[in-house]
Symmetry: C2
Subunit: 398 residues, 2 copies
């Protein structure tokens, strides 16, 4: 991961749950850094989600620091949870020298275990003393729960003919880890953007990336994606219009990095043996296409068929049908690994099952379905549903 002008970062083992590994990270930003966020849509959000949403709305979209811990989600912890979150932001603010609402928070880990906000103080002092522009991989490691590898990446975009860096990291092995079912993503750039512009770019990119992956359809109490734009080392004034053509390449690179991070999460889906792309075409609109794609990608019958390397296209028909969006059964077309399997609502006369079965034996599975209604399209990425998913998630917590 490339350094980003205006971002210093660090991580430490604070002992929230794990021993012998960093589980707390902090990033500190140059003054005037714009911030934007996308949060879980759950009706039972964790305290840090409420905190960061509220802070962004209070301060108009700026941030001086980001603090993330792993091991305790501070979710379903009642009033004490919000007190602990507030305390941790106050502690970080005092160390960094800013208002508490300029501190963004995110947590991941066990649900329902009370958190002590004072636990943050000494570790954050230690991190602050050792902040560096280079410790990205440490930060990516510190936010892991049952992830088997740290997830990160960088892109260099061009704005007005000069390079701008975008770096980010994420965690999550889908929604499948015992008690630690959170997806977190953080993206940092030295581009100069107004908060509203950054929010627009982040929201659109999130739809095409983090909101286009699924492991089992479960949604966490803590899901959070935050973006920060420092405006350092650039020669242009903050851009306010997300449709400004100067941002075309930047937006493409930003979305590409977010998609890369999201796909890394799917590839780390626990128990996953295959990476599956589901593309829906011909839907009423793009949103309908995404709904149908998620219906396919979340179907246990489809996902177990993929685990069993079975080109079971009947289950694809079932999953399209149950999505509830318009689909013309008698115009339905299905492709598996590029081969057309079905057309006009029935099996294709030249369908070769051995050819489809050979594709299913690979690790990258491509499913494409045209539902024959209009022009809406969407692609969703998922993994298969295996014995190991059950093993991991049926394990008793203690």
């Amino acid at each position: 991961m490339l350094p980003v002008a205006g971002v210093e970062i660090g991580a430490v083992a604070a002992g929230f749950r794990y021993t012998g590994r960093p589980d707390l990270m902090m990033a500190v930003f140059a003054d005037g850094t714009a911030a934007a966020g996308v949060f879980t849509r759950t009706k039972a959000p964790a305290a840090p989600v409420d905190w960061s949403k509220g802070a962004l709305s209070e301060n108009g979209g700026t941030a001086k620091a980001l603090v993330v811990n792993a091991g305790n989600a501070n979710a379903f912890t009642g009033e004490r949870g919000m007190k602990a979150a507030t305390k941790s932001a106050e502690v970080a603010a005092a160390i960094v020298g800013c208002a508490p609402n300029e501190v963004m928070l995110a947590s991941t880990g066990v649900i329902g275990v009370p958190m002590n906000g004072s636990l943050f103080e000494k570790p954050l002092e230690t991190i602050h003393a050792g902040l560096s522009g280079a410790l990205w991989k440490d930060a990516a490691r510190a936010i892991m729960t049952t992830d088997t590898f740290p997830k990160g990446g960088s892109r260099v975009a061009e704005v007005e003919g000069r390079p701008v860096t975008i770096s980010g990291f994420a965690k999550g092995s889908g929604m499948i880890a015992p008690d630690m079912a959170t997806m977190l993503g953080f993206v940092f750039t030295n581009a100069a953007l107004t908060p509203a512009c950054l929010q627009a770019i982040l929201s659109e990119a999130t739809d095409l990336s983090f909101n286009s992956i699924t492991v089992d359809g479960d949604t966490s109490t803590n899901d959070t994606v935050l973006a920060f734009a420092t405006g350092q080392n650039v020669r242009f004034d903050p851009i306010d219009d997300p449709n400004d053509p100067r941002l075309d390449n930047f937006k493409a690179c930003f979305t590409d990095l977010m998609t890369d991070l999201a796909q890394q999460i799917v590839r780390d889906g626990e128990g996953a043996t295959k990476f599956v792309s589901v593309t829906i075409e011909g839907a009423e609109n793009d949103a309908a296409a995404r709904t149908i794609a998620k219906s396919v990608a979340n179907s246990p019958l489809v996902k177990t068929a993929i685990a069993g390397e079975d080109p079971n296209w009947g289950r694809l028909v079932m999953a399209v049908g149950k999505a509830g969006e318009a689909a013309d059964r008698d115009k339905l077309q299905i492709w598996i690994g590029g081969q057309q399997v079905a057309k006009n609502g029935a099996v294709h006369p030249r369908y070769s099952e051995p050819e489809a079965a050979a594709h299913m034996k690979g690790q990258e599975i491509d499913i494409r379905i045209n539902v024959g209604v209009a022009d809406g399209t969407a692609t969703v990425w998922t993994c298969d549903l295996t014995y190991d998913y059950i093993r991991i998630n049926a394990d008793y917590r203690s």
Copy 2:
């Protein structure tokens, strides 16, 4: 299963897919029998679903015969599928002596395999020659696919102080069988009801029974529930008002039988080791309660925790939150096996995890959640998600 006046029934091995077992059944009704149906909401319904819906609407809600086969779903079979369905109804109509649209059809089995409507002729003649008022269990067996036991039952209700019989059978091991993911239910009574009255009673009972069970959230192309009221051996004229107080006991018995059949399906969920009741209280309304209950009952994280005998209430919070219906996180209350686990949005101070864990080791798991908004309630029944679910569904079809 008790005989029902005005219903004669039979089954035979027709060889649609299986050998050595009956896979085709027919019931023949007294003249003037009222019929009603509830069908899959899929956008890709199978031909027999389209047929039966159309026939009921054409003939005003009456039936002379019911024909059901197992082994071939006649789904996603294009125009040929509807031709085959039409042919099979014509064949049955000629044998029984009625109009084709007085024949109700249902199929279950492999999707996408063309069906030959002429295959019905000889077996239906055989069945017709041996029709009897007693062959209910044969019929219940004939509609099985991967079911491990036939599912049926009877109730005797009282209308105007005299007994009325209700008998029914069903098939389905949830939506989890390879390629044969269909739930079928058929209920027969000698009560005298108008078609509109029967439809109203059936629709309400279906919501509380077949629409309140879930194995994996997948929806079949062929799901069908049909009810028939012969009006034989009763001393009252056909009742038209479903709210007529004379029907109070009948409706309770009807719903009780439907619920029994639906629960038999859940208990036969393949791979299932536990029968799980999820009751939601305090929702905005009953429909919202059912949505939340299904979100809990379909969550892979909840279902694997149950398989692992883990009273993992954090996952219940997650599943309530993701349902999208109103829930007050800070008033949420959760009970597992009667013990209160959480109140006011946090763990209950006297929660005993060993006591909850002991309940989870049983075969009947009770989960109750109050979401603290209003008075809506619903109960949904499901099973756990086990290794065997994966084994069964990842098996290659051939």
